[in-house]
């Protein structure tokens, strides 16, 4: 089993310790971890970002557009439509729409306090194989996938901690997957409303494939900038700290750049 080398592990622990040791204030939503149903951007906005994935043999650009809608304060539905460009180092480029995701989130637990909240939600996603599988490289998976998981979020006026995990049931002979994400958010400016905000996030994004056994884990620092009431800009960087049993075409790094804005 390939494990983290000692130096890298110590560096990661040092980053976590530095971030957690600070006196912190509340923040906006995390970049790569799912969030509970909240008013504001999570409910009536549009989220779009560009994701540049740099691998050993290919560069991938994914541009999803996410549209969530709060049916009630406890129930949210939405869709994610990804546009993808795959550019192999030694081959033709494929581009077009990839697999569309429909999702729903249902809040099953809520504990509110003074300037703090803790929420747990059930998260269901269905991934439709809408991406072109005849192109080379393929833009879609060609498979229906059903994801069932949980989202947890604790937001206080001092810190934001988010997590999501779930099981991805894949049709046919393809292997099921388990994915997990964790995020800690820390604002760099004092907490007031309304005001400009800059928030930092440290996130971890993991995915485990059962057969063949493949385990990936990324560390993802990021920054969000909130210049006003209706818009948020975000940028993040994902660096692999574990790519177990991936021998060929490993991910070098990923860069995310995006925005969220309110329609009304």
């Amino acid at each position: 089993m390939r494990v983290l080398d000692n130096v890298k592990f110590k560096q990661i622990l040092a980053i976590i310790w530095i971030l957690c040791a600070q006196v912190t204030w509340a923040q906006g939503p995390p970049i790569t971890t799912d969030t509970p149903v909240m008013l504001g951007l999570a409910g009536n906005g549009i989220r779009t970002f560009g994701k540049f994935i740099i691998k050993e043999k290919v560069k991938v650009y994914v541009h999803p557009i996410g549209i969530p809608y709060n049916v009630t304060s406890k129930f949210q539905i939405g869709a994610i439509v990804p546009f993808k460009v795959i550019d192999p180092n030694d081959g033709a480029t494929s581009k077009g729409f990839s697999d569309i995701i429909f999702f729903s989130k249902h809040q099953i637990y809520k504990k509110d306090g003074k300037a703090k909240t803790f929420r747990i939600l059930v998260n269901y996603k269905h991934i439709f194989p809408t991406g072109n599988i005849k192109s080379i490289p393929r833009l879609g998976s060609g498979l229906h996938k059903n994801y069932l998981g949980f989202i947890l979020g604790k937001v206080t006026s001092k810190i934001g901690i988010y997590g999501d995990f779930g099981y991805n049931l894949v049709e046919g002979p393809a292997s099921d997957q388990f994915s997990y994400n964790f995020s800690v958010g820390i604002p760099l400016l004092p907490q007031q409303y309304p005001q400009k905000q800059i928030n930092t996030f440290l996130e971890f994004n993991g995915n485990y494939v059962f057969k063949p056994e493949i385990h990936t884990l990324f560390i993802s620092p990021g920054i969000t900038f909130i210049p006003g009431r209706r818009v948020l800009f975000e940028t993040g960087f994902q660096y692999p700290i574990l790519q177990k049993n991936i021998i060929d075409n490993k991910t070098k790094f990923t860069i995310l750049l995006g925005t969220r804005f309110l329609l009304n």
Partner: protein, 123 residues
Amino acid sequence: MKSTILLRMVIVLSIIAFSFSVKAQSDHSEVKENSEISSDRVYIKIEIMGLACPYCAFGMEKELKEVAGVDKVDIELKTGLAYISTPKELEPNRFSLEKIITDSGFSVGKIEYQDKPFEKLSR
């Protein structure tokens, strides 16, 4: 020598002029604040439990602005408090305010009414 004295006089006069300007601005803002206090309005302080993020505050501000007679909503994130005021004849009852808060996904703490503006805790 003369130029040094002149320079000193200019500096002193500038300081005096600046002080008067600041005082005038301060008086003006006091007058403006006093003019906003009206005896025919009711002032309401609402404790919103679970309000802990800027976007939640924005969403809550939009919902509270829908209350008849409310033209301004002040929200303090640190304390989870919202301040509104309406003309007395449009005074919203406790039940309607509680419904707005709970329908928005939050819980309601204390709701207080008075006929003068509340002193904000975070100031």
